[in-house]
């Protein structure tokens, strides 16, 4: 086929698709809808946790990254920083001991704030997942039915806070008016909220494989992944009275201490066993009982033979 023909065909296809689906007009958001979210991380973070934040910053066009928070700074200064930056939500990634990640998600300036413990963190870069989505497109925020109408009030509040952060307002200046990915939050029986992020592949998109729905959509995971456990809900912005504290939460410090204690127990057992052994070896236990037949074959002067010699 000649190049001219190819070009003509390509043009025809382009005009067709444009005719079929016009680029949606961007509805300009009023200032109230131009919500911004401040994201910042504490000093002493590892690359893994930083990568999680970077991923979310890349996925959510209305998130604005701020510089790291010093250890000496108090958490409640974040509310001030967010207000100064014109944000009405804030995400704070608190890393402790280079191993534990706590996520503070709060509404500014009035609160409330939810503090999560984040586990099973896997960044986009680390997971080799084939999904991809537009930078700046809006994502669906999906919750499973555990967050629905009859759910306990703390879960409803958590849903509101998470929606406020993960929902890109329509017409946000930095967003694109397409919906091609979904943030999914699912609650398991242990009270952990699992976060997954998928690309939506529609029926006409040519990707093969995977399970398609009846309407022909398919999801391809993009990453990142993590699981969140609600620790506490505070009334104020990054502090204030506790409205909810999760009794099912287990501190990672306590888990580590328990593991260490068990290891220590093993050592203590070994030491006591060794002491007992030494005592046994040194003491009376070691002597063998007297053998009654010990001198049966012992040579003794024979009176009869002596008599013969003489």
């Amino acid at each position: 086929m000649s190049a001219a023909k190819l070009l003509a065909r390509k043009r025809a296809r382009q005009t067709e698709s444009v005719a079929a689906e016009p680029v949606p007009a961007i509805r300009k958001a009023p200032p109230s809808r131009r919500a911004k979210v401040l994201a910042l991380i504490s000093h002493g973070s590892t690359t893994k946790f930083t990568a999680l934040m970077e991923d979310w910053v890349a996925l959510l066009p209305h998130v604005r990254k701020d510089c790291k928070l010093e250890q000496k700074d108090r958490v409640d200064t974040i509310a001030e920083v967010a207000e100064l930056a014109g944000c009405n939500r804030a995400l704070f990634f608190e890393v402790r001991k280079h191993t534990d990640l706590y996520l503070w998600a709060g509404a500014v300036p009035s609160g409330p704030t939810v503090k999560f413990h984040v586990q099973a963190v896997h960044s986009m870069d680390e997971l080799s997942l084939t999904g991809n989505c537009l930078r700046g497109s809006r994502g669906i925020v999906s919750f499973d039915s555990a967050f629905g109408g009859t759910a306990p009030s703390h879960l409803l509040l958590v849903r509101q806070v998470l929606t406020g952060i993960f929902a890109v307002p329509e017409g946000h200046p930095k967003s694109k008016p397409f919906v091609d990915h979904v943030h999914s939050f699912a609650l398991d029986r242990l009270g952990k909220i699992h976060y997954r992020h998928y690309q939506i592949v529609n029926a006409q998109d040519g990707a093969d494989g995977g399970r398609r729905s009846q309407a022909g959509q398919m999801l391809v995971e993009v990453g990142p992944r993590c699981s969140l456990t609600v620790m506490r809900i505070f009334d104020g912005p990054f502090g204030g009275p506790t409205l909810y504290a999760n009794s099912g939460f287990v501190s990672p410090n306590h888990v580590r201490a328990e593991v260490r204690r068990r290891t220590g127990e093993r050592y203590a057992k070994k030491i006591t066993a060794r002491a007992a052994m030494r005592k046994r070896h040194a003491g009376a236990d070691r002597r063998l009982p007297r053998d009654e037949l010990a001198d049966v074959f012992r040579e003794e002067p024979d009176e009869h033979m002596e008599g013969l010699d003489e």
Binding site: S17, V18, P24, S32, A107, M124, S128, L129, T130, N132, C133, L134, R135, G136, I140, V141, S142, F143, D144, S145, G148, S153, H154, L156, L157, Q160, G164, A167, P169, E170, F178, V179, D180, V182, S184, A186, L187, D188, H194, R196, Y198, I200, N202, S213, A215, Q217, L219, E221, V222, D235, T242, L243, Y244, A245, N246, S247, F249, V250, V255, E258
Partner: protein, 270 residues
């Protein structure tokens, strides 16, 4: 099974706080405060079904549960958007920057390809190993078959010899003996078959050839009981002063001792 987490939870329970009234009030305030709480603005969907998770440790099942739940939400959301008349699908010819860069996607691709090829190669290796295993059995069966054939032909030749002149029977015998019935000609040690390395070569399948394969080709590096006490290789005179040791003494007396340099040069000039 009780996990460590469960044990710790039982040992040091956290004090539960659940101020439902305050939580509900807060929730109402948030909903009232937020002007953009319509579906159009948040794209928030709560599915009608909980995730089906019986076994949290089964990765595939867990991911499938999340997938089906998210899929349900996507369908609901797209239906709602269509209802509201909000276009949401990206046109085919709309190209823009993606979250993952091309380099990142290429890296993912190479990684996946490598995984596939690795799996394929492992499968091939396994097959080859199986072939080798069964190949040995096949070879053994073939050797037995060949021996039977040879025996049968020899017997036939013997039967023929009875009624034939000597010349013919000799010919047949030689044919049978040299394995003229499909097998390779057996090489004998005297037939000049010693190779350059000096090792013996045997007809394949013969017992000797097998033994040769089992034998070590070189000495063991470590001492055995015998070799440790064996002093036969020790040359006491080798490093001793000339005249003292055996070798030195012999050298001095022998006629074959090498002449000095001057003498050698002189001899060359002649």
């Amino acid at each position: 099974m009780v996990s460590i987490e469960d044990e710790v939870r039982a040992q040091r329970p956290y004090k539960e706080v659940n101020n439902t009234a305050a939580l509900t009030q807060r929730l109402d305030e948030m909903l009232a405060d937020n002007p953009s709480n319509e579906f159009r603005d948040t794209l928030c969907i709560v599915t009608t079904e909980p995730i089906q998770l019986d076994d949290m440790d089964d990765d595939l099942k867990r991911e499938l549960a999340f997938y089906t739940n998210a899929m349900q939400a996507v369908q609901a959301a797209q239906a709602k958007l269509d209802e509201l008349g909000v276009p949401h699908q990206r046109p085919d010819d709309y190209f823009a920057e993606m979250v993952k860069t091309d380099a990142h996607m290429a890296r993912v691709k190479t990684k996946l390809i490598k995984q596939q090829t690795d799996a394929k190669e492992a499968e091939e290796r396994r097959k080859a190993r199986d072939n080798k295993k069964f190949g040995k059995q096949f070879q053994a069966a073939k050797a037995v078959e060949r021996a039977q054939k040879r025996k049968a032909s020899t017997d036939a030749a013997k039967g023929l010899r009875k009624g034939r002149p000597d010349a013919v029977s000799a010919e047949l015998e030689s044919a049978a003996g040299s394995g003229g019935f499909g097998g390779k000609r057996r090489r004998t040690d005297t037939g000049g078959n010693g190779d350059a390395g000096g090792g013996k070569r045997f007809a394949p399948g013969s017992r000797d050839a097998k033994e040769a394969r089992w034998k070590r080709t070189h000495k063991d590096k470590r001492n055995s009981k015998e070799s440790a006490t064996d002093g036969s290789g020790f040359n006491s005179g080798k490093w001793s002063a000339p005249g003292k040791g055996k070798v030195g003494a012999a050298k001095k007396g022998s006629a074959k001792q090498r002449p000095g340099k001057a003498r050698r040069q002189q001899a060359r000039r002649k």
